[in-house]
């Protein structure tokens, strides 16, 4: 798959040009427009409701990015990624609430940013712990050990032990004013949106560049054939664990971000369903980082549309509102099945086809 179609007569003259992200003026213009759109136009013109939907999309995309690194780039299928997001969220919350921060850090609003980084590292290390079996097992057995990660972490350790810190029982409540970055207090959907879009953009840039380094190529080699990769001299255990670390790291960032969006944190935010949901997102989205974004937009968007539909007919059939969660689960299941059967390469492949069609439009060969 060529990544970029160059106009006729346009050639690269050196390696840097050949490897560049934005290779033509048109692409450059498009990308700058996209950045302006998400950083300036959306927050200016969208209402609070749509911004909160966008935040949900961003959170899903951050979580699914980690899953994409594991499944899409190293072939390590995980069904327990919500555990690492939960570890990130809890690490960040516990740090903010109970760590004896020096006063100047709190005054400068650095407590939350520092806690995000620490939470990401903790989540990454936790992920490596459950990635250790991948040294010996793969395929279905690995899937089961990641499921074990989900049940052990969320249903046992977080619910039974971590939630007891501070003696409040089930949930941590975050009083208003605790989430502060520099001079800004993160208290409205618009500010959360800025935090989300910054984190997501950074994560996407770092991941996209990481994937074209030696590390990323090693991951792809392991995914395609791990035996062949080993004969090429790639230390597969090391690279698999590194993959788990990076995926958990991004999951930790996602979790720590989610803290800013909710007033209280409880283990119910990270059920097994959420792990499966993230895998569903990348299956529907398709390969690559754009697959993550497409999948998140599609899944969150469809659920919002269903919710709007249910609300509009709830006058006739009020029971539907109560049962919305069940409808959501059914639709999720059906969407995954339908995509795997009818569109197995996902939305990003369809997008690629559409782009190619219009590249030569209206004068195809």
């Amino acid at each position: 798959m060529t990544r970029v179609w160059l106009p006729c007569g346009d050639y690269h003259q050196n390696y840097a040009e050949d490897q560049g992200w934005w290779q033509t003026r048109v692409i450059q213009g498009k990308m700058i427009f996209l950045l302006v759109l998400v950083f300036i136009l959306f927050p200016l013109f969208l209402s609070g409701y749509w911004l909160s939907v966008a935040n949900m999309i961003g959170y899903t995309a951050l979580g699914a990015l980690g899953v994409q690194i594991l499944i899409g780039y190293a072939g390590l299928i995980t069904l327990g990624h919500a555990a690492f997001i939960a570890v990130g969220a809890y690490a960040s919350t516990v740090l903010i609430l109970y760590f004896p921060w020096p006063h100047f850090l709190v005054a400068w609003g650095l407590a939350y940013p520092i806690s995000i980084i620490i939470a990401a590292i903790v989540a990454g290390l936790w992920s490596v712990l459950f990635g250790l079996p991948s040294a010996r097992i793969k395929g279905f057995y690995l899937i089961l050990s990641t499921m074990a990660a989900q049940f052990i972490t969320v249903d046992f350790i977080l619910t039974q032990y971590v939630s007891q810190i501070g003696g409040r029982g089930q949930a941590f409540s975050l009083p208003p004013g605790t989430i502060k970055i520099g001079p800004w207090l993160i208290d409205s959907d618009r500010k959360i949106y800025f935090l989300m879009i910054t984190l997501l953009t950074l994560a996407v840039i770092v991941t996209a560049n990481l994937l074209r380094t030696r590390v990323g190529r090693a991951w792809v080699a392991i995914r395609d054939n791990d035996v062949a990769a080993e004969t090429l001299g790639i230390n597969i255990v090391w690279y698999k664990l590194l993959n788990f670390f990076v995926a958990g790291f991004i999951g930790g960032i996602a979790g720590a971000f989610w803290v800013s969006n909710c007033a209280a944190l409880s283990p119910e935010h990270f059920p097994w369903f959420w792990s499966l949901w993230l895998v569903g997102v990348i299956l529907i989205g398709g390969a690559g980082i754009d697959g993550v974004i497409f999948g998140s937009i599609f899944m969150v968007g469809v659920m919002e549309l269903i919710q709007i539909g249910v609300i509009s007919i709830s006058d006739v059939y009020p029971e539907l509102m109560i049962k919305f969660l069940y409808i959501k689960e059914s639709v999720f299941g059906l969407a995954i099945c339908a995509f795997l059967i009818y569109e197995p390469r996902g939305l990003s492949y369809r997008w690629w086809q559409i782009k190619n069609y219009f590249n030569l439009w209206p004068f195809s060969y």
């Binding site: 499944i71 299928i77 069904l79 459950f130 250790l132 079996p133 010996r136 097992i137 395929g139 279905f140 057995y141 899937i143 089961l144 050990s145 499921m147 074990a148 990660a149 049940f151 052990i152 249903d155 046992f156 619910t159 039974q160 032990y161 054939n225 035996v227 062949a228 004969t231 369903f273 499966l276 895998v279 569903g280 299956l283 049962k323 969660l325 069940y326 409808i327 959501k328 689960e329 059914s330 639709v331 999720f332 299941g333 059906l334 969407a335 995954i336 099945c337 795997l340 059967i341 197995p344």
Partner: protein, 294 residues
């Protein structure tokens, strides 16, 4: 000592039900290579269908038979609609289709029956435990175990002695050879799903008898995954041993470890044990060791 033996017997009795469900799982895997994560919801369906028939006044044994029939129909439908088109796809696609099916079914179950706990009224088995020597055994556990074992033997006899069972064994062993001998692989796939739905359904009905029917019965059905992994994915004896082992381990964890790790150690222990076990025996007790060549 008495506590130890009581825990052991309870574990074995529950383990019998797990073994029954695990048999269905292994069967699907052996025949069609599908790794099925929908087992929890299959048990749920069984539990709810049985309790519905029972509450309409159908006797318990007849409602189990009705569950079997519903299981056959649903199994064939699921196989025909979803899995049939995905033969030969990568492992992730197949696993996620089963996940999709499981959520689809779960949503429908919750939509129809709600999430309240339901119990079999009037209770089918007397609540009074009976004793063998100094062992006290709850009647529910005992009869569930007996029923599970009977069904288990019926399924095994089906494989060993009937024409259909033999054709399923042949397909599991070597699909190409079976096809060339005139065995219809599509029939075998459908049959394996039907049997899995039946075994999971009965397992669900029995589990629902013990604790009442809720969505959490689905979680118990999920425990079949550690069971098959302990036994090895493609081994029927492994499924039995794995199921019994998981039942015993779960009850021991509940009895002895609860003092040290208060809370839900009983629920997560099978998964934790499995994760550690896999580090030392990656293919379970009797699973085939896959030899990879380039």
């Amino acid at each position: 000592m008495e506590l130890f033996l009581m825990t052991l017997t309870t574990g074995i009795m529950v383990g019998g039900i797990y073994a029954l469900v695990a048999l269905g799982w292994v069967l699907i895997y052996k025949c069609s290579g599908v790794l099925n994560l929908a087992m929890g919801e299959l048990t749920l369906i069984g539990a709810y269908v049985t309790i519905s028939f029972y509450s309409w006044g159908v006797p318990f044994v007849l409602s189990i038979v009705c569950t079997l029939i519903v299981g056959i129909i649903l199994g064939i439908l699921v196989e025909r609609i979803f899995l049939d088109r995905l033969i030969g796809e990568p492992i992730l696609a197949i696993i996620m289709v089963t996940v999709g099916i499981s959520y689809f079914l779960k949503g429908i179950i919750e939509f129809i029956w709600g999430t309240d706990i339901r119990v079999f009224t009037p209770p089918i088995f007397s609540l009074k435990p009976f004793s063998i020597g100094f062992l006290k055994i709850s009647t529910v556990y005992f009869w569930s175990f007996v029923l599970a074992i009977v069904l288990f033997l019926v399924f095994v006899a089906f494989f060993k002695y009937t024409r259909w069972g033999l054709s399923m064994q042949a397909t599991a062993d070597d699909e190409t050879a079976a096809l060339s001998l005139g065995v219809s692989a599509r029939f075998v796939y459908a049959a394996s799903w039907a049997i899995a739905f039946m075994s999971a359904g009965v397992g669900g009905a029995l589990l629902g008898n013990i604790n009442g029917v809720t969505i959490s019965v689905g979680y118990l059905g999920l425990l079949v995954l550690p069971a098959v992994v302990l036994g090895g994915l493609n081994s029927v004896p492994g499924a039995i041993v794995g199921g019994l082992l998981i039942g015993v381990l779960q009850n021991f964890a509940g009895t002895y470890l609860d003092a040290y790790f208060p809370g839900g150690v009983k629920d997560v222990f099978p998964f934790a044990f499995m994760a550690v076990f896999l580090l030392f025996m990656p293919y379970g007790l009797w699973g085939w060791v896959k030899i990879e060549r380039m």
